[in-house]
């Protein structure tokens, strides 16, 4: 059994705000859930499955109680920012197995005006990763960038091209946190955070959230709204492997082939890609690992507007991505799916809408390229694909 065609993304909602001091975490969950339901043309009472990350109180129990639901299926897979792409795959599998027919996936967070939740201190590796002054994601992603540069000659100017492409897209998004275009020089002249990563190599920090509604084919057919068909899903966790870590590749080397095999498509079929962009290096390594170019050639691939929509080699992150638009709760996975669905519906901004966009890819990376991370790849098609 595969999930190919077994489920559809029928509703999406991205919270329009980037600072939300006047709402609690759970109120944001409600707001985005209602937004996605309205987009799909469904009601809270239609939901029979709930998916959330590990930051929503006592897992799905708190959230379900808050929503006032009694779902027949739930899942709180926690792989950082990639969680929500895993939720889509798990929802599709549950729908294919007949466990549910309308799944709600929500993300909410307040890193600007509240507290982020971290329950990492009790993990067995904590004492061996936490004493070195690592106090932010840039510090360990920088280790991956440095090693990639050493092995393949990747340059800071090439990494900067990724930010430039995202910023070109962000200027069409009025909700974007940084809604203006920047240059390679702007990136290189921004302060170093952790060599070789500059401030503008990093994603934005925003409050906010998003929601997705995943439904069965029968439900999708009953709706007036255009859905995106789920064609394939692959997931993997890459970790330090008993001291054997190789910082030059990501878990996409495993999640990508799984998703492509299930979808029955190849990289040549992908017209648009939402690529997780916590940092510029995250994008560079991921596009190599998904097979859009040879390993080590990502730097060359992104030059000369390779990622710029609508006519680059691989139009990416047309909402401005985590690098410029939104990275709610320090987790960019849900917005990756949302923008891919906009592209499949033909509802991205006209300046960045990819023409004839029949098949797209969304990829999430949660955790750190510098230690352990969850990689999840989704492949989506148009409703009649």
């Amino acid at each position: 059994m595969t999930i190919r065609g077994a489920a559809y993304v029928a509703g999406i909602y991205e919270h329009p705000r980037r600072e939300i001091p006047d709402r609690t975490l759970f109120e944001i969950h409600t707001e985005v859930a209602l937004g996605a339901l309205a987009d799909a043309g469904l009601a809270m009472s239609d939901i029979d499955a709930v998916f959330c990350d590990g930051t929503a109180g006592f897992g799905p129990m708190s959230l379900v109680e808050h929503f006032g639901l009694s779902p027949s299926y739930f899942d709180s897979t926690e792989t950082g920012g990639s969680s929500y792409l895993a939720h889509v795959g798990h929802a599709a599998a549950a729908i294919a197995a007949g466990k549910c027919s309308v799944a709600l996936i929500t993300l909410a967070g307040k890193p600007r005006t509240g507290r982020s939740v971290v329950a990492y201190a009790q993990s067995p590796e904590a004492g061996f990763e936490s004493g070195w002054g690592v106090s932010g994601a840039p510090h360990t992603y920088a280790l991956a960038a440095q090693r990639h540069m050493y092995e393949f000659g990747t340059t800071s100017a090439q990494l900067a091209e990724i930010k430039v492409a995202a910023s070109i897209h962000a200027q069409y998004n009025p909700n974007a946190f940084l809604p203006y275009a920047v240059t390679v020089e702007d990136v290189l002249n921004s302060p170093l955070v952790a060599d070789p990563l500059h401030r503008l190599d990093c994603c934005v920090v925003t409050d906010g959230g998003g929601a997705l509604i995943v439904v069965s084919p029968e439900v999708a057919r009953s709706l007036n709204r255009t859905s995106a068909k789920i064609l394939g899903h692959g997931e993997a966790i890459k970790h330090t492997d008993n001291g054997g870590i190789d910082l030059t590749y990501t878990g996409a080397v495993w999640s990508g082939p799984r998703a492509f095999a299930e979808a029955g498509v190849s990289v040549a079929d992908i017209k648009y890609a939402s690529i997780y962009d916590s940092f510029t290096i995250t994008v560079l390594q991921t596009i190599e690992d998904l097979g859009f170019c040879e390993k080590g050639q990502g730097g060359k691939f992104v030059m000369d507007g390779g990622l710029v929509a609508p006519f680059g080699k691989l139009p990416f992150n047309t909402d401005g991505g985590g690098l410029c638009n939104n990275h709610p709760s320090n987790r960019g996975g849900i917005t990756k799916v949302i923008e891919a669905v906009r592209q499949m519906r033909g509802e991205a901004h006209p300046s960045v809408q990819v023409p004839n966009c029949q098949v797209s890819l969304a990829h999430g990376t949660g955790g750190s390229l510098g230690s352990k991370h969850g990689s999840v790849t989704l492949i989506l098609g148009q409703e009649d694909a």
Binding site: F128, S130, G131, L143, A144, R147, G243, L247
Partner: protein, 134 residues
Amino acid sequence: MLPAPAPVINSTTAEFWKATTEGRFILQRCNGCDIVLWFPRRNCPKCWTEDVSSFDAQQSGTIYSFTVVRKGKGAFQDAGPFVIAYVELADGPRIMTNIVDCDLDALHIGMPVEMVFHDTGEGSALYRFRPASR
């Protein structure tokens, strides 16, 4: 000196951290599949046997990757720029650590380094590295 915050210690890691206060760096070897383990564990992560033994490891290696953190937080807030790195130990494992007592501009991947211990004052010492003296 770079701040040396005490690590989380549990029953599995107590022997390892006690040794650091004596200037020793312990690694484990699996007696089933003869691999070196990192970090301390009860079971080998390859064959899952509990038949693992400890040995005093070589206190040297080379830089696998590094970054200069421009401004730290928490205990490292006033530390100034400092270096986080992975060092590939002479005994094999690549471990996260700091490089200290170094010229930031002279650091490079492949640089030979030697271990130093920084006492946390709480029954443990952090294993860090400096450029090798020879």
